[in-house]
């Protein structure tokens, strides 16, 4: 098989004594979306910055479309479209002017840049707002303009750093549709996100990182299977009551305490009444009870526990790979 569009091998980057990225390896094939998942500070953005040549890795290699980030950064920059965490468009310029500006910088002629801008505005549903200053755009429109600005010149690889953070559900959906279209058109897409839901909706494969290391890799289905079903969160502010509740819920497997919340994994919805009965039996009153499907937090709780319990410097990342 031909080399994957993004090929990362034992990437390492430290800031002072602290390793922000520690031995990260994974790959992204053309026409697929891979989600890079992790909490704040996990090292996602450092990985992205190494891939987009904004940072030089300390060791390891990263090849994008065959170009090595260390030895051929210019080749990498010519192959990768980046959409960062914060919309990188000029708020004083109109959407169209932003696109023309980036197009001109990438050597499109004046007319070529205008034509491409019109095309992109249309493609991202911004035609009507094209001549409005980007500062007046909604969050969702701005993110779409930002994405469009990355695509002024066709590239084989797209890197999206938390593209929907802070967006309302409808804007998020619109952006997801755009990303899916780009993957269908053959782009290799690497997406970082804090939302399992987002990785779930878009990514064929998910790489979970924490503290700079890959702690799990697989399809969304595989990862969720590891976490289990929905969880019930029982919030009890009083520490004494919470301790008694932990005792009352001893019959449930895998109960964890997260701040003032007891997280109870559920195997079925009928377990909810059992949980409530157990609390009632101990004459305890919860401040709040909520049931929700597994979130990144839950994946994370499950995964980090295993990870931190394991010995040895190198965590085995091979199991999820094909």
């Amino acid at each position: 098989m031909a080399e994957a569009a993004i090929e990362i091998d034992r990437l390492r980057k430290s800031f002072g004594p602290k390793a922000a990225v520690d031995d990260v390896s994974f790959s992204v094939a053309a026409g697929t979306v891979v989600g890079l998942l992790g909490p704040n500070g996990a090292g996602k953005t450092t990985v992205i910055n190494c891939l987009t040549t904004l940072l030089t890795p300390d060791s390891g290699t990263a090849r994008l479309a065959g170009h090595d980030v260390t030895t051929d950064p210019a080749g990498v920059r010519a192959s990768v479209a980046v959409t960062g965490q914060f919309a990188a468009v000029d708020e004083t310029l109109t959407g169209r002017e932003n696109l023309v500006f980036f197009g001109r910088l990438l050597r499109l002629t004046r007319t070529g840049a205008s034509a491409r801008a019109a095309e992109l505005l249309d493609q991202f549903g911004l035609s009507e707002a094209g001549d409005m200053p980007a500062g007046h755009y909604s969050g969702g429109m701005r993110r779409r303009l930002d994405l469009a600005a990355s695509l002024v010149v066709p590239r084989p690889i797209l890197v999206l750093d938390e593209p929907t953070t802070g967006l309302d559900p409808r804007s998020r959906q619109a952006l997801w549709d755009a990303v899916r279209r780009l993957a269908r058109d053959g782009m290799a897409i690497l997406l970082t996100t804090q939302y399992l839901e987002e990785a779930d909706a878009l990514a064929e494969r998910i790489v979970v990182i924490d503290e700079g290391r890959v702690i799990a890799e697989g399809t969304p289905k595989e990862l969720k299977k590891d976490v289990g079903g929905s969880v019930c969160e029982v919030q009890i502010s009083d520490a004494g009551d919470r301790a008694r509740a932990t005792g009352a819920l001893a019959g449930f497997v895998g109960v964890k305490e997260r701040d003032d919340v007891l997280v109870v994994p559920m195997r079925g919805t009928d377990e909810l009444s059992a949980i409530v009965r157990a609390l009632d039996g101990a004459a305890l009153k919860a401040d709040d009870i909520a049931v929700h499907p597994p979130t990144l937090n839950d994946v994370f709780f499950a995964l980090t526990k295993d990870h931190r319990g394991s010995e040895g410097p190198a965590f085995d990342t091979g199991e999820g790979r094909s």
């Binding site: 904004l54 990768v80 050597r107 990355s150």
Partner: protein, 269 residues
């Protein structure tokens, strides 16, 4: 957080496109400028207001004591003030720019990183010169004239360009050095105000106390005013022109050293 190694993005080779890229970025700088009413007001409207206010207040006084029209020295001074006032606004705009997402996008694009710097400076130069031409044209009304011929008029604007180069060089250093924007105004406002007020543009040199007269005469705004007066109205030329070139080129070169070092760090992230 600074990277321990310099990034490959630092300063890529292949400066062939540098000029083209700098021009495009300068175009953006100018576009942002003309869309900002505050900047237009600060660097054009307010100095123009000063011109007419000061003329109204002191023209007769200066004319009576000096025997020449006040506008002859005031118009060149106002042109230098417009260049000075570009320092603060440009520095703040650049400060914001190099910390913005747009800058990061440019860093990740296959373009020469220096074009962000040169584009800003080129844009500043064009706007300083453009405003100088406008002010000179408007000052025609109260009697400002180029009486020394076409060559001298060209020389006039070449000197303004050099002065502008010094201003944008200072602006860039300020933007790269300031921890946050308000600091820039504190750094820039008082020195430029002192230099303009304590120059031979506001008052003829003879009006200053003899103790500080030589200092006033030697400072860059005074030498530039004298040179510009010489190139428009007429008067001593060689010494003020040479002094102005020395000041502006000297300060610009000094700034360039600082800029190269600091900008490299910025590009490296």
């Amino acid at each position: 957080m600074t990277a321990t190694t310099s990034a490959p993005a630092a300063l890529p080779t292949g400066a062939g496109g540098l000029w083209a890229e700098s021009r495009i970025i300068a175009g953006r700088v100018l576009r942002l400028f003309v869309r900002s009413p505050m900047m237009l007001l600060a660097t054009f409207g307010f100095p123009l207001l000063q011109l007419f206010m000061l003329l109204a207040a002191f023209n007769i006084l200066v004319h009576d004591t000096l025997g020449e029209s006040y506008v002859v020295r005031l118009a060149p001074l106002i042109i230098l003030i417009t260049a000075f006032s570009a320092i603060g606004s440009s520095a703040i705009a650049f400060w914001v720019d190099i910390r913005s997402g747009v800058f990061n996008r440019l860093r990740a694009m296959p373009i020469n990183a220096l074009s962000m710097l040169f584009g800003r400076m080129l844009g500043d130069l064009v706007r300083i010169l453009g405003i100088a031409v406008l002010v000179a044209a408007i000052a025609y009304l109260p009697g400002f004239r180029f009486e020394q011929g076409f060559g001298a008029a060209v020389g006039f604007f070449v000197l303004v360009a050099l002065f502008g180069l010094m201003c944008t060089s200072i602006a860039v250093v300020a933007a790269l050095s300031a921890p946050y924007p308000p600091v820039i105004m504190a750094w820039v406002q008082l020195p430029t105000l002192a230099l303009t007020l304590m120059s031979s543009g506001y008052m003829p040199l003879d009006a200053y106390p003899s103790a500080i007269r030589s200092v006033v005469a030697a400072q860059p705004v005074s030498t530039a005013v004298e040179a510009l007066v010489g190139l428009s109205h007429g008067g001593p030329l060689l010494v003020p022109v040479l002094a102005t070139v020395a000041w502006t080129v000297g300060i610009s070169v000094l700034c360039a050293f600082v800029t190269v070092r600091k900008f490299r760090n910025f590009v490296a992230g």
